[in-house]
């Protein structure tokens, strides 16, 4: 009789604990994302990565950094594809500038941000994230056809906005 009761209590405790863990990590995602200017983007990005269920704020920053990197690589590929068939010299120049911007994001900004988060010196992650957002913005600004958007507008916007999210989350680690 005692054994069954103990087992029942144990199971109840286990279920309660499990429920508490799930609830609190969604809570961490929500409270963290509320401190960024792009709440929905932040929540979506974090929730779609399984690591977020056990991550602390530092881990959440890492997930966003990886996402910026992935989006940057995708956008860089788009730029390269466009460069293969471009005829207009102004457009070609803008695209070449974007290659430089995106190479900087992928080879300098994101590795430094990840390194800084891992080494617990978050201000360099903030600085790199800021730069990544600026590089994406600079790329977008370099296309002549204002006020309409560039051919890679959605890529630039995604990288820019996620970089801002990364900057905000890294600032929480200061």
């Amino acid at each position: 009789m005692t054994k069954i009761i103990s087992l029942f209590i144990l199971e109840a405790v286990f279920c309660f604990t499990f429920f508490t863990v799930s609830y609190s990590d969604i809570n961490l995602i929500q409270t963290t994302c509320k401190k960024t200017p792009f709440y929905d983007l932040c929540v979506l990005t974090l929730k779609s990565d399984p690591r977020s269920s056990t991550a602390d704020v530092s881990g959440l920053a890492r997930i966003v950094a990886d996402s910026v990197n992935a989006k940057a690589i995708a956008t860089l590929n788009q730029v390269s594809a466009l460069l293969k068939s471009v005829k207009d010299p102004t457009l070609e120049k803008a695209l070449e500038g974007c290659i430089v911007s995106y190479n900087t994001i992928i080879q300098a900004d994101i590795p430094v941000a990840i390194d800084a988060i891992e080494k617990n010196n978050p201000k360099f992650a903030v600085q790199s994230a800021t730069d990544a957002g600026n590089e994406a913005q600079a790329c977008e600004n370099s296309f002549a056809e204002k006020p309409s958007n560039s051919p890679i507008f959605s890529g630039n916007k995604a990288v820019h906005d996620l970089s801002v999210v990364l900057q905000s989350i890294a600032s929480l680690l200061l």
Binding site: N103, K119, D131, L174
Partner: protein, 512 residues
């Protein structure tokens, strides 16, 4: 930094692999005169478990027998911040090329209640009245910035004092804490252990949260290792800054050679990282500055470029009593204005000040103003540096005076980057702050210009602004200097000297 056996040493944070932050180790350079420099091999690399993730900031202490010990922060393989001891491999080598790490490092680990990432940058030690060595290390508890205190006899065993040197709520992590005495009466620096009447102590902290260096002047109590600011309303982190521009992680040392306290600071880049990667380097050290207590105000420190910089002056020109009417720009006949030392004084008609309109808006701030293009009754006026002939690019360094509704005058000292370059991705903010101007003082500015670096000293160094600008047109032979006065109710008379500056001499040390 330190002076030892005839040589000035600078150890600096360096990434040998890239023009971005990472893989931080200790670079090393030496000079006999702060002008001719030799690059030596890396002093310390990240080769132990206790500094594998970074050989970060540290400080040297010169012991009674003249030997040097170095305490520095290492970031361990687990990313924990610890303090380590190192010393020269050969104390008789004046160049201090090789360094040895104490075999039983770390000597200090984060104490209970302090986070593993909130414990770094130990200071130079000073002697207590009991004959022990005392250091302070910056940290934080929640959002309160603090300075922990430790006593030691051998730099290996430490006792942490119960109290803190000081703490200021809301300031966040205190990095690169510096603690040093200044004389209230003498015009020389003081050794770090000096205490007594006529001596005040400065606490300085680099705030991680906003990347600015703040200082406060106050009184040190040796018995309990505490310090109180003279003016709590301008306490550490909420009051005065060393520099209102891009300037961080600064640190002083006592130069026993010339009996002065010298300040080194890190000037970062304000262009894109893409540009940094392309040019292959990033960040510079400021021209070293002497630090003195400002006897006239009693509230500020004075910073001034070290006198050795004067030896880089080449040909100079003097311009006397140049009248600048309200709303005008005066070109100065001086070519290739890219490496300059400018000392300028501005006289204002006191009648004009009397008659000037009072403003009910008391909220001027360089950063939120319209820069040099925003006209006020009593400002802006000053100099345009790194400007091309057509003024398509220009960096104004100037004064802006306001007269409150009570008739009181305030003077601001600003540096306006908004039109400094046609390039799109460079910082275009306006830097600056209030500068105290006492009765009878003329307004004075000293500016050191070096291509993309501008260091400006207002009122003898009471307020200093460092900025990085990246002109595309106002470069080399096309760079010029102008006087300007964009005020509406004030004529200004300027007298100035401008010198072309030679480049410093920086070489690798041969045969090493």
């Amino acid at each position: 930094p330190l002076f030892y056996k005839g040589w000035y040493h600078l150890f600096y944070q360096y990434n040998p692999n890239a023009a971005v932050w990472g893989h931080i180790v200790w670079g090393h350079a030496v000079s006999k005169d702060l002008i001719h420099w030799l690059h030596l091999p890396l002093a310390m690399a990240a080769d132990q478990w206790y500094d594998k993730n970074g050989v970060w900031t540290g400080s040297a202490t010169i012991l009674h027998d003249g030997k040097i010990v170095m305490l520095y922060t290492g970031s361990t393989t687990e990313g924990v911040q610890v303090q380590n001891l190192a010393y020269p491999a050969d104390q008789y080598d004046p160049l201090l090329v090789h360094w040895v790490k104490y075999p039983r490092n770390p000597v200090l680990v984060p104490p209970p209640g302090i986070g593993p990432n909130d414990f770094r940058d130990p200071t130079t030690a000073w002697l207590t009245s009991e004959g022990k060595w005392r250091i302070t290390i910056g940290s934080k508890i929640n959002k309160t910035g603090i300075a922990l205190v430790y006593d030691t006899k051998d730099f290996i065993n430490y006792e942490m004092l119960d109290g803190l040197l000081h703490a200021v709520p809301g300031t966040g992590m205190w990095e690169c804490v510096d603690f040093f005495p200044v004389s209230e009466t003498e015009n020389n620096g003081l050794g770090t252990s000096i205490n007594g009447p006529g001596v005040k102590h400065v606490v300085k902290a680099s705030l991680d949260d906003d990347r600015h260096d703040y200082y406060a002047i106050g009184t040190y109590n040796d018995r309990n290792g505490t310090w109180i600011p003279d003016r709590p309303n301008i306490d550490v982190g909420i009051g005065l800054r060393y520099d209102y521009g891009i300037y961080y992680a600064a640190k002083t040392f006592y130069d026993q050679n010339k009996k002065r306290r010298v300040l080194w600071g890190w000037i970062g880049e304000s262009d894109s990282e893409a540009a940094d990667v392309k040019k292959g380097w990033a960040s510079v050290q400021s021209i070293p500055r002497t630090i003195l207590f400002d006897k006239k105000t009693g509230t500020h420190l004075l910073q001034w470029p070290v006198e050795e910089i004067d030896s880089l002056r080449l040909k100079g020109k003097e311009f006397n009593q140049v009248k600048i009417q309200a709303g005008s720009v005066v070109p100065l006949d001086f070519d290739s204005a890219t490496q300059l030392d400018i000392i300028a004084e501005f006289k204002i008609d006191s009648d004009a000040l009397e008659k000037a309109t009072r403003s009910s808006d008391a909220s001027f701030d360089c950063a939120t103003s319209g820069g040099a293009a925003e006209r006020g009754a009593l400002g802006p006026f000053g100099l345009l540096v790194l400007a091309d002939e057509r003024l398509s690019e220009q960096t104004p360094v100037y004064f802006y005076m306001t007269k409150g509704s009570d008739g009181n005058l305030k003077t601001f000292f600003c540096n306006d980057q908004s039109r400094s370059s046609k390039a799109s991705y460079v910082d275009k903010h306006i830097y600056g702050s209030l500068v105290p101007v006492l009765r009878g003082e003329n307004l004075s500015i000293r500016i050191l210009v070096d291509h993309s670096i501008i260091e400006s000293f207002g009122q003898g160094g009471r307020t200093v602004i460092t900025s990085r600008v990246y002109p595309t047109k106002a470069i080399y032979g096309a760079a010029k200097v102008f006087l300007f006065n964009n005020a509406t109710e004030l004529n200004v008379t300027a007298s100035l000297k401008i010198w072309q500056m030679n480049s410093a001499f920086i070489q690798p040390y041969p045969n090493l």
